[in-house]
């Protein structure tokens, strides 16, 4: 009789009645063959693997993470609430210790959704990992969290949300932004001044295979996790690094994904992208579930798997070796720079230009961070879109000091609203959310 070494929870929500559009990669059919494979393999009958129904994420869960403009219901659908609720359910079951590992095999995905939401980007509307993590922080006092994003695309949404948060380590391994959407995630993107170093980007060249991914895991990801000592490790488990994925150019495999999961030992995996719906997803998902549960996955492979055909070049191996060196140097020198930034204080500004490819919106942001020695600092976002919206959004972080909290309210209360549609305030110290409309 097969049984799981680690009790593993699974939320499977394929949203069989939801699509972005009929022929879009994010369509009803996406997880159909995965469901067939999971059912046929009998994974849900394995002793120690339990399937849960997703919860429905609540408005408060979304407002803890996002500023949705003009409001939540205008930019999200029920399927997003269920997908986020699926991740939430796994998070809660894990923190309540009813399971030791969990996998939210849900769609639609979320890792391109940023803190401000005017529409959909890269098939994502709301960030389901962040919604789960902030819920767990609020309800269970979880503090240090690491997110390891192994989707082929840079997890720019998650990076944006945690850019200024030193308690959240965000590591993204992805296809180099010079060759793929969203065009970001270079190794020098390391986080805001108060959280420098807790964003780690490892962009890999096209056609990186098992060897390269596992090298990065062993020589960068695992050592960094060791240093950071998170209470919770979340894997944004996108599956579009697969050699058969139609919209990317990597050479990863089901065995590789299973092995990576086995070595990474994430507490929670959340499905992100992956669009080779017949040739990859059924096998990759079976591999990930078995690896999480600690069940033998050696025999899991694609019908057309041929390691020789997808082996990476020597140049690629060498490139990755050097990249990892750079990343590790940066990781060790970051804490000092971060400390000196925070000592200096003042206001830090940056401008962002964000394109919502799915909704066709262009957004310009000016971020102003109150750099603070006592806390990670309050953030002010002035955002306008080419569709004529303009908002002011203020985020007071979870552990804000009194001064930063007061600054947040000052920005929100005394700002001149005449030129804006709305003001938004997230006060994470009190778990409150306020809106001021013109």
């Amino acid at each position: 009789m097969l049984s799981a070494k680690s009790k593993t929870g699974l939320v499977f929500f394929p949203a069989f009645d939801w699509a972005i559009s009929p022929t879009h990669p994010e369509r009803e059919e996406r997880l159909l063959y995965t469901q067939d494979q999971v059912f046929e393999e009998g994974l849900l009958d394995i002793e120690g693997i339990v399937e849960y129904k997703p919860d429905l994420a609540a408005m408060e869960d979304i407002r803890r993470v996002h500023f949705c403009h003009p409001d939540e219901k205008s930019v999200i659908t029920e399927s997003h609430l269920i997908s986020a609720g699926g991740a939430l359910k796994i998070g809660v079951e894990l923190v309540e210790r009813r399971i030791e590992r969990g996998f939210a095999l849900v769609r639609p995905p979320g890792h391109h959704a940023m803190r401000v939401v005017h529409g959909a980007r890269g098939f994502c509307n709301i960030n389901i990992e962040a919604i789960m993590i902030e819920h767990l922080r609020e309800a269970y006092g979880i503090d240090r969290v690491a997110i390891v994003d192994t989707d082929c695309h840079h997890g720019d949404g998650t990076q944006n949300i945690y850019w200024h948060d030193p308690d959240t380590l965000f590591i993204s391994i992805h296809q180099d932004g010079r060759t793929l959407y969203p065009g970001s995630g270079f190794h020098d993107e390391m986080g805001g001044p108060s959280a420098l170093g807790t964003t780690v980007n490892i962009p890999l060249p096209p056609r990186t295979s098992e060897q390269g991914f596992l090298y990065v895991l062993e020589n960068a990801v695992l050592p960094i996790l060791d240093d950071f000592k998170p209470q919770l490790i979340v894997n944004s488990a996108g599956q579009d690094n697969h050699y058969s994925d139609p919209i990317t150019n990597m050479s990863f495999s089901a065995q590789g994904y299973a092995e990576l999961t086995h070595r990474l030992q994430p507490h929670i995996a959340v499905l992100e992208g992956g669009y080779s719906i017949e040739g990859a997803l059924p096998y990759v998902n079976v591999g990930i579930i078995l690896a999480l549960a600690g069940v033998d996955f050696q025999n899991v492979r694609e019908p057309d798997y041929n390691p020789d055909r997808i082996r990476q070049s020597r140049d690629t191996s060498e490139y990755i070796r050097q990249l990892v060196e750079v990343v590790m140097d940066a990781w060790s020198s970051a804490p000092k720079i971060r400390a000196s930034n925070r000592e200096k204080g003042g206001f830090a500004q940056r401008d962002l230009r964000i394109f919502y490819d799915t909704s066709g919106i262009l957004e310009n942001q000016r971020e102003t961070l109150l750099v603070c020695e006592a806390c990670s600092g309050t953030l002010r976002i002035d955002s306008r879109t080419d569709k004529g919206s303009r908002i002011l959004a203020v985020h007071i972080p979870r552990k804000a000091c009194v001064r930063c909290r007061e600054q947040g309210y000052a920005w929100f209360d005394s700002g001149e609203i005449r030129n804006y549609d709305s003001f938004y305030l997230q006060d994470r110290t009190q778990d409150q959310y306020f809106v001021r409309r013109k």
Partner: protein, 565 residues
């Protein structure tokens, strides 16, 4: 007249039903080592002096195959299993004669690796040499393309008495369950066949050459012929018999919880507007998770004979049964003894019951009557708690569409039907503990036999259409047909219903136009390179568990049970 017979762990019950209602019933002690004698004894009693030609049909529900599995008394069976990539098939080894072979099919039903014919011939020779007469043949995804199972079957070339082909047993996905089901089919084949042939011959010798039906775990019947090729369906029909009997008395517009309180266990089931809920994949028995269609039942180790004691200053009921109640000469106090102390039951030795409860009362420091009341209350609480758990589990069943998450129906029973030995007493007490209406099933002593007598045929057909591959496939029916690109969901539904009607007749239905329903239906557009390249349609239709129309008489003429025959 019709006959229903149900073999239980302790008693075998039979009823004779005529147009006026229940004419006779009998209860004989079950002798599980000589099951045929129990069955035959009950049949002889219930048909005494009845003209053979006046009996129209007989439905049998026995523990034959169930016990064979529980006691590990299975015939040796060979298994030939092909899987391809995935969980290593060695994990599902069923015993000594288990062979994993090459050949694999993917989730769309495409061949990835062919069958190695020489390999199969060699295995066939080894199985024959080992004296194996029954074989199960199972391939991963064989319900999407049975070609390999069929090819292997052909290679076995009628060298065996019985070959269970995985794709014929169920249209559901689950390779491990398919292996378990084929293995059980092959392992009980001759046990089942011999027994029922003996029953048939004995009946014929009495001049009763009538159709014999076997009750299935899903509460439906199949004719003897069908059962011989699909014997696993007869496994675990016992709980189904009682549930089907209670159906007669359930409200057709409500959700009903059925409690069958026996000596050792209490079995529960849920009816939705008069139709019992089924297990989504299949029943579980003796550690085997199977694809055998069956009613969703839950059993807890709590019944009239469950032993009662004090543990750490607290009253503890069960889970073991040490014997009958002390009032009937048993070794340990039980809830039934509590009924004696409370004066609700009188047909035994009340003093022994009092003596049995006395040490418990002393340890708890309360009166004997109070102790009895508490035992009774606690037992009722345990039953209700388990029932709530079962309902929560039903409602927790995952769903895979946005629509179902938001609008999905939540089960909330609004009536409780109680049957089994101590039913009337429990019903009274349960009524005080819950605000759901409680009724005792009339004829609660023989509900199971009535259920068997009145159950109608059930059938299920699963149809899978892949227009990109150009196929429509109903694996259980050995049916496949090529289809064009424009084959629609409506056409699929129509085809599935046509196949169901044929199957229903073949398996012994009495009604030519059965009430069919679609239980699962989905259609996906298959998109490749941003163009729709085909449709993937899945339809499952069934004739749901129900009763033959002749039952009305039992309700209309409540003549009461005739005396014990």
């Amino acid at each position: 007249m019709i006959i229903g017979l149900d073999v239980g762990g302790t008693h075998t019950d039979a009823v004779l039903i005529g147009s006026e209602g229940i004419l006779r019933y009998t209860k004989v002690v079950t002798n599980s080592s000589k099951l045929f004698e129990s069955v035959w004894g009950a049949l002889v009693e219930v048909t005494q002096d009845v003209p053979p030609e006046s009996i129209r049909r007989i439905v049998l529900s026995t523990t034959l195959t169930t016990n064979a599995i529980a006691e590990g008394k299975l015939e040796k069976a060979g298994m030939i299993v092909s899987s391809g990539p995935g969980i290593a098939p060695e994990y599902y080894r069923t015993g000594e004669h288990y062979f994993t072979v090459s050949g694999s099919i993917d989730h769309r039903g495409r061949e990835i690796q062919p069958v190695d014919r020489l390999e199969i011939e060699a295995i066939s020779a080894r199985l024959q040499a080992a004296g194996v007469r029954h074989v199960g043949v199972v391939g991963k995804f064989s319900v999407r393309n049975p070609a390999h199972e069929l090819e292997i079957n052909e290679l076995l070339d009628k060298s065996f008495d019985y070959v269970a082909l995985g794709h014929r047993l169920s249209g559901n996905l689950s390779f491990p369950r398919r292996i378990a089901t084929a293995h059980l089919s092959a392992s009980v084949y001759s046990i089942h066949g011999k027994f029922f042939q003996a029953v048939q011959e004995s009946l014929q010798m009495k001049g009763m050459d009538l159709p014999i039906y076997i009750l299935k775990a899903d509460g439906g019947t199949m004719n003897l012929e069908t059962s011989l090729t699909n014997p696993a369906q007869s496994i675990l029909s016992g709980p189904a018999a009682s549930v089907m009997g209670s159906l007669l008395f359930a409200s057709k517009d409500q959700e009903t919880l059925v409690l069958d309180i026996g000596g050792t266990t209490t079995d529960m089931a849920v009816l939705i507007r008069g139709t019992p809920l089924l297990e989504p994949f299949g029943i579980e028995i003796g550690g085997y998770k199977t694809l055998i269609r069956g009613l969703k039942t839950r059993s807890i180790a709590l019944g009239g004979d469950t032993s009662v004691r004090v543990l750490d200053g607290k009253l503890k009921i069960g889970p073991e049964r040490k014997g009958p109640a002390m009032a009937y000469g048993g070794p340990a106090p039980t809830p039934t003894d509590a009924l004696f102390v409370l004066g609700k039951t009188t047909d035994g030795d009340r003093e022994s019951a009092r003596a049995g409860l006395d040490p418990i009362a002393r340890k708890l420091g309360i009166s004997l009557e109070e102790t009895a009341g508490r035992i009774f209350d606690q037992a009722c609480d345990m039953i209700l708690e388990a029932a709530a758990h079962m309902v929560a589990e039903i409602n927790g069943k995952p769903v895979y569409t946005v629509h179902e998450v938001l609008e999905g129906h939540r089960v909330k029973p609004t009536e409780i039907l109680v049957l089994g030995g101590p039913a009337p007493h429990f019903a009274q007490r349960l009524a005080a503990l819950t605000d759901v209406g409680i009724r005792v099933v009339p004829y609660w002593q023989v509900t199971n036999a009535i259920g068997a007598a009145l159950a109608r045929n059930t059938s299920e057909v699963t149809l899978f259409v892949d227009t990109e591959r150009g196929i429509a496939l109903a694996p259980e029916e050995d049916f496949s047909q090529s289809v064009k690109r424009d084959f629609s969901r409506d056409a699929a539904r129509e085809l599935a219903c046509r196949l169901l009607r044929i199957k229903h007749q073949r398996e012994g239905a009495s009604d030519p136009e059965p009430e069919m329903e679609v239980i699962e239906e989905s259609q996906f557009n298959m998109v490749r390179q941003f163009h729709t390249s085909g449709r993937n349609i899945r339809v499952k239709v069934q004739v749901k568990p129900g009763l033959i129309p002749e039952y009305g008489c039992i309700l209309e003429n409540p003549i009461g049970l005739p005396a014990h025959a």
